[in-house]
């Protein structure tokens, strides 16, 4: 009973470590899997674990947004693309272990370790502040986005537009204009043609 009680009292902590660990494992899997489909699925794991972390912070709206946007839209898009490409095992190639990769992993680990001491000093500063009950709600997020962060929020639209145009430019097979595609030109042509018809005997 006591165990259960302590468990339920410590539940948020336990859940945090569980899902934080899961998200990390998922992230490492995204990196290490040769098969893109496996990698995409691992990414779903990461994304969903992070959504759980948001819930633990009682930011329900953000958690929902995270699930819908990332897991629901983006990863699904990835999977569609991967399936369309339909890569064979030969194209994917085999994993090779080299000394260089080991060195790289070592350096990366060293960077991670170097970041630890900084992060360790953090919770003290933040947990002492009482959390506003409306934190993370749709209303607060909306107010922030259209109030304090209006300009960055609007800037994202330019950013996404630019990214979209960039994607189209790079991916479209042929972007040299096709005359028949232009509605205005078509209308002009039509007018001119009818004009010509009148004049012809």
């Amino acid at each position: 009973m006591i165990i259960l009680q302590t468990l339920s009292a410590r539940l948020p902590d336990i859940l945090f470590y569980l899902f934080a660990g899961l998200s990390l494992i998922g992230a490492v899997q995204v990196l290490c899997r040769r098969n893109p489909m496996n990698a995409a699925v691992s990414m779903v794991v990461t994304v969903l674990s992070i959504a759980v972390l948001y819930i633990l912070l009682s930011a329900y709206f953000i958690a929902a947004a995270q699930m819908i946007v990332y897991a629901g839209a983006i990863v699904v898009l990835f999977i569609f693309v991967i399936m369309l490409l339909n890569l064979s095992a030969k194209e994917i190639g085999r994993r090779r272990y080299t000394l260089f990769k080991a060195f790289a992993a070592f350096v990366a680990a060293a960077v991670g370790v170097s970041l630890l001491p900084g992060v360790r000093g953090a919770p003290r500063a933040i947990s002492e502040q009482p959390i506003d009950p409306s934190f993370g709600s749709a209303k607060t997020v909306g107010r922030l986005l259209f109030g304090e962060f209006l300009l960055p929020f609007e800037l994202t639209s330019i950013l996404i537009l630019a990214a979209m145009v960039a994607g189209v430019v790079l991916a479209k097979r042929d972007i040299t204009p096709n005359r028949t595609f232009s509605p205005v030109d078509a209308i002009l042509d039509l007018l001119l043609k009818s004009d010509r018809k009148d004049k012809s005997p």
Partner: protein, 498 residues
């Protein structure tokens, strides 16, 4: 519940230079959708006009000394920002002027080119105005993402696409660090506003300094400081030359604005300065030495100019360190002056390369310039002016740029740094003079058939750009007063006089 703080028309007017460009970009896209056959040159003109409007707006605001914040403090329009608005718009104009003919030669003259440039520049302008971390980050990305695409704009060229890919991957890598840094800084200070950040150092120094390091790394990547410079030569070489011009100037100059602002406003208190300054001195030395040394062995001009741009970042870092150490707006003004001149002379050098680019081949190798002095004396003379200015020969602008920066660095007691800087400048003379030697003093390997220099890349735009830059390098070298006065005005808004 507090009600929404309204955003008014004045806020939109405040960000007019950036807004104007974004709207122009959208207009170009729409025009291209409806008038695909007529939109190309029109887009170029719209781009130039939009850039010109932003430029004049920036210049007007700079001279009138406007200093206000907009959008609840997300952006601050102070003279420093206006100065960068002017520099960035000028640099982009020069890059756009060099583009149309080259793109037509490569069969990829699309309106999207101009739209992407405009989006990128609007990002830069907001970036230089940002007073808040999220704003800063988003603006930086708005600036970068179009450039990744522009590098690959000649899509059939595999060098171009490979360069773009590398640049994109490395850029994403750097962005990751930067976002992490932003998160840590926000976590430490509980606010993203630059002015609030120093209190993070008091409440949780660990978070703060890790965040500071990571954010600065993001910037150092963008300005191509060693060891975050690896992408530069590849991207410069692979990109279509007008895009390289754009990257070497606007994309290069813009990150300095945010970095200087952060270094002075957020990380300008003595404890932080003691930490980042030695690191920056080390990076400056590395950057100057590596950039100049590797440039020595290059045979491709674009690649060489890529390394030289790395080296120039080093000189600018020297200026930044000196101005923070002296806490002097005059020293900071010399950095702005240097950027201004750098934009002019570099644009010119790339412009000459564009002038001689052929239908399917660039004229990039130094060997390709042999005999230019005899065949095309005017073009060779222009190239000579740019190279001599890049070397730092008086009375050209490049000399005074370096001269001012170095003399303030000496004043700040950074003599060892200046010695390295001067030695590496001397080193740089070797490879810059290689160009002049090739143009004037080397005999073609086959004297019977000297290289034919045809102005295939000729266009009125490009000639205008070359004349302007050459004139500017000479004029603003001999008469540095106007840009210097404006730069001092701008710098004084960031470092008020003691």
């Amino acid at each position: 519940m507090e009600s929404l703080i309204p955003v008014g028309l004045t806020d939109l007017q405040g960000v007019y230079p950036a807004l104007n460009l974004a709207v122009a970009g959208i207009v170009i896209l729409l025009l291209d959708a409806f008038f695909p056959m007529r939109s190309k040159l029109l887009s170029a003109w719209i781009t130039l006009i939009a850039l010109h409007l932003s430029f004049t707006c920036g210049l007007h605001r700079l001279t009138s000394g406007m200093d206000e914040t907009f959008f609840h403090g997300a952006v601050r329009m102070d003279p420093f920002t206006h100065a960068f608005t002017v520099i960035i718009c000028l640099a982009s104009t020069l890059a756009v002027l060099s583009a149309p003919k080259y793109l037509r030669l490569r069969d990829c003259h699309y309106a999207e080119y101009y739209a992407l440039i405009l989006f990128s520049v609007s990002g830069m302008l907001l970036f230089s105005a940002a007073e808040e971390l999220i704003m800063l980050f988003l603006a930086l990305e708005t600036m970068s993402i179009p450039v990744y695409c522009l590098v690959a704009f000649t899509r059939d060229n595999e060098y171009s696409t490979e360069a773009s890919m590398k640049y994109f991957v490395m850029g994403a890598f750097a962005t990751g660090f930067m976002v992490y840094g932003v998160a840590l800084l926000y976590g430490s200070a509980g606010s993203g506003y630059f002015a609030d950040l120093p209190r993070g150092a008091a409440s949780s120094p660990g978070l703060f300094y890790s965040g500071m390091t990571l954010v600065l790394i993001g910037f150092l990547f963008k300005i191509a400081a060693v060891p975050f410079n690896m992408w530069t030569p590849d991207a410069y070489e692979g990109a279509p030359t007008p895009v390289t011009t754009f990257m070497a100037e606007a994309v290069k100059a813009a990150p300095f604005s945010g970095m200087i602002k952060l270094l002075i406003v957020a990380f300008g208190f003595s404890q932080a300065v003691h930490l980042w300054m030695p690191a920056f001195i080390g990076i400056a030395i590395l950057t100057m030495v590596v950039g100049n040394m590797v440039a020595l062995v290059q045979t491709d001009m674009k690649r060489m100019l890529g390394y030289s741009s790395i080296a120039h970042s080093g000189y600018i870092l020297v200026g930044i360190v000196a101005s923070v150490k002296l806490n002097s707006s005059e020293a900071l003004a010399s950095v702005l002056y240097y950027l201004f001149i750098y934009v002019l002379m570099n644009a010119g050098a790339f412009g000459i390369l564009i002038l001689f680019s052929h239908k399917n081949k660039d004229t990039n190798a130094i060997d390709d310039l042999v005999g230019l002095g005899r065949e095309r004396p005017w073009a060779a003379a222009f190239m000579g002016i740019y190279t001599l200015s890049l070397t730092g020969i008086p009375p050209l602008g490049g000399f005074f740029g370096k001269f001012y920066i170095f003399s303030y660095a000496i004043k700040a007691g950074l003599t060892p740094l200046v010695i390295v800087a001067i030695l590496t400048s001397v080193m740089s003379a070797f490879y810059y003079l290689k160009i002049i030697v090739a143009m004037y003093f080397r005999e073609p390997s086959d004297p019977q058939h000297p290289a034919a220099f045809s102005y295939e890349g000729y266009s009125v735009f490009l000639i205008a750009m070359l004349c302007f830059t050459a004139f500017g390098v000479i004029y603003f070298g001999i008469f540095p007063k106007t840009p210097l006065t404006l730069a001092r005005l701008a710098a004084a808004s960031l470092i008020p006089a003691p």
